[in-house]
Structures are given as C-alpha cells and as structure tokens.
Amino acid sequence: MSIGPRPEGWHPPALTPAYRSTRLRAPSHPPLAMPPGPAEEAGPVFGHLSLGPLDGDLLVNHAAPGETAIGPRIRVHGTVRDEGGRPVPHALLELWQANAGGRYRHARDGYLAPLDPNFGGCGRVMTDAEGRYAFRTIQPGPYPWPNGGNDWRPMHVHLSLFGHAFAQRLVTQLYFEGDPLTPLCPILNAVPSQAARDRLVARLDMEGTVPMDLVAWRFDVVLRGGAQTPFENRAEGL
C-alpha cells in the first residue's frame, strides 16, 4: 500500500466558521504532516465480522415482522476504489441517517417530526470481491439544526468506511442529486471546491431502479492510497 500525502485544499479545513461548531473544536495549529508508518499502513481486519442478512437493509432491519419503514424506498450502491482506481474488497461501510421526516432515533434529537417505529436508521455492509456495495433504505428527510440561523440539513446519509490501512479511515456524508437544500449547507460547503463537493452527491441511477419497488442512487467512494500515488516528496517514506 502506497499512501500519499493528503492534497491541500481538497478536504474541508478544520475551521469553517459558517459551520458554527467548528469554532471551538478546530485545532488552532495545523496538523503535523508525517509519512505513514507501520501503524498507519496496517488496519483493523474485519474478516471475523459476520454481518447479519438485514444489516444492509434499513427498510426492514428495525421493523416489526411484515412491516417496513415509512418513506420513499431506495437502494444506494457503488464501488469503493483506491486512488489508483483499484477496487477495495472487504471494506466495511457503516451508515446512519434520519427517517423520512428528518428525525433521528437519538436521545438528543428533539425535532418535531415523529419517530417511525419501523425505522432505526443504522446499517452496515461490506464490499464484495470487486469492491461493490449496496444497501436498501428510505430517502432520509431534511431537518433543521441549530447553527445560529435558519439552517437545514439537506437529505443525507452518514457513511463510515475502513479500507485496509488505518490511514484510509474515512467518515463522510452522501447527498442526493437535485436536492435544493444541498448548495445551502454549511457542512457540505466546508469542502472548499465544487469538484470535491460534487463527489459527495449521489446520482439517480434509473438503470439500477427496481420497477414498482425502489429507486437506485449511485455513489462511488475513493479511499486513499494505491499504486499511482507514491509517497514522493517525503524523505522518510516507507
């Protein structure tokens, strides 16, 4: 595994004042750039994890027998690759989201929208040998949040990924093409460039839809590392 330095200006910086919570939580010093060593090039191995058949099916994994979650039925799928373009097999992807009304099943979420007794909002899947993953869920609703003004989170799904190296660890959010709230979001807009923000937007995939059942959204993920990004400029790279 060859892991290059993170490029400047691609990820969101720590301090993005329009996202108010960063003001007291962003370190004032920049992080020390270091070449990855054995601790960062190795990573947790999840081969022992046997995922349940419903772990990747949020439509039913919290539902009473015979019932399903309320909301537009969707399937999200894509491929996890490294920066060299190679698929990442057996990558663990965990996800969480609000229900169709924009309410989380969380003690600290007091939004007016009701909980759905048949929706938990938590799932996990693993990529197959070709790096592909898929999960079924409902389209999450937008929700208001306290950020000092009239702020609304666009429809989004939180994603957490492990590759094979600890340095590949990634937590991000998936947005939906065409949501008018997306361009207004201070959290998404913490990402500096439009090109980078576009990478967080899932695309409607009519080919992947299941007629009379669910709409598909395509979302590919790229984790760090890979043959085409050698750690070139560091004297002490491994």
Partner: protein, 168 residues
C-alpha cells in the same frame, strides 16, 4: 482519482458508530486469550473553551503485546487492536486494553464540529521518533500520564495545551 472528501460525523454518530446492542467494536479490547499486560487508557476531551465534548467518539488502534499489528505475520490472533468509545456527558472516554509492544497507540477523534477526524497518538513511554521530534515543544501533549495500570491521555481540541494532531 482523489480520495472522497471527509464530512463531520455529526452529533448523532452514536446511531451508526456505537449502536446499542452491538458489541463488535467496543471499548474493551481484551478478548479471551489475548496475551499481554492489562492496561486502561482514558481521558477527557475538551474544546477551545475548556468545556467537555460529551458528543465525541474516540477510536483506538494499536499493535499487540509483541508490537505486531493485527493482520500482519505472527500477530496475536486473539487481539483485534481496534476499539471505539463514545464519550460520556463529562467528555470522558476509557478503553480496557493491553500494553502494546510499541511506545504509542493511535487515536482518532470524531465529533460534531470536526470536519475531518483528528488523528493523534498517546505515547506510553518516552520515545525517539519523527513524530515527537516534529512536535517540538508541544510533544508533551502526546505523552500519557501513568497512574498504576491506567494511562491518562486528555485531548484538548483547541487552545491552551492543544493536543498535537497528525496528518499521515
């Protein structure tokens, strides 16, 4: 193709990263049969105003008692080397693990207001390495303080005594 950009894990990270009733990635790394000397590692996460971050989540990654990382040849097969702990309301986290055969363990901090996970190291003993050298006069923020079998490692996100964070 560049890496997918990071986004904050947000205030509701517990739903996905620390769901109730799923013990896969807990704060106890001492599975049956794990070799090594028991160690607890814990501390408090505070923000730039010194307030505890009760909604943060810490991930731990470390080698086994012989210094081998899980998945590498000869590693202790009973030891996963990886754990997660959601902070309590007072911003405290705590892991039950074993003393690694290496000077440090790696930590990631996730929380509302953190756009990309903050990566740091808790050094359990003095070491001569590039990270501590590069940290210079702030290297003390990377040193855990021992109290018996407990290593205390407080994390200050911003301000006085700000923890050194690393970009690997």
């Amino acid at each position: 193709m560049r890496e997918t950009p990071s986004q904050t894990a947000g205030p509701y990270l517990h739903i996905g990263l620390a769901p109730e009733g799923r013990a896969s990635f807990g704060r106890d790394l001492r599975a049956p049969g794990v070799r090594g000397e028991a160690m607890e590692l814990g501390g408090t996460v505070r923000d730039g105003a010194g307030e505890p971050c009760g909604d943060a989540l810490i991930e731990l990654w470390q080698p086994d008692a012989a210094g081998r990382f899980p998945g590498t040849p000869g590693a202790d097969s009973a030891f996963g080397g990886y754990g997660r702990c959601a902070c309590d309301a007072a911003g405290r986290y705590r892991f039950e693990t074993i003393r690694p055969g290496a000077p440090f363990v790696s930590l990631l901090v996730f929380a509302r207001g953190i756009n990309a996970a903050l990566h740091t190291r808790a050094y359990l003993e003095p070491a001569e390495d590039d990270v501590l050298r590069a940290a210079g006069d702030r290297a003390g923020t990377l040193m855990a303080a021992w109290d018996g079998a407990t290593a205390r490692f407080d994390i200050r996100l911003q301000g006085t005594g700000e923890t050194v964070f690393l970009d690997f």
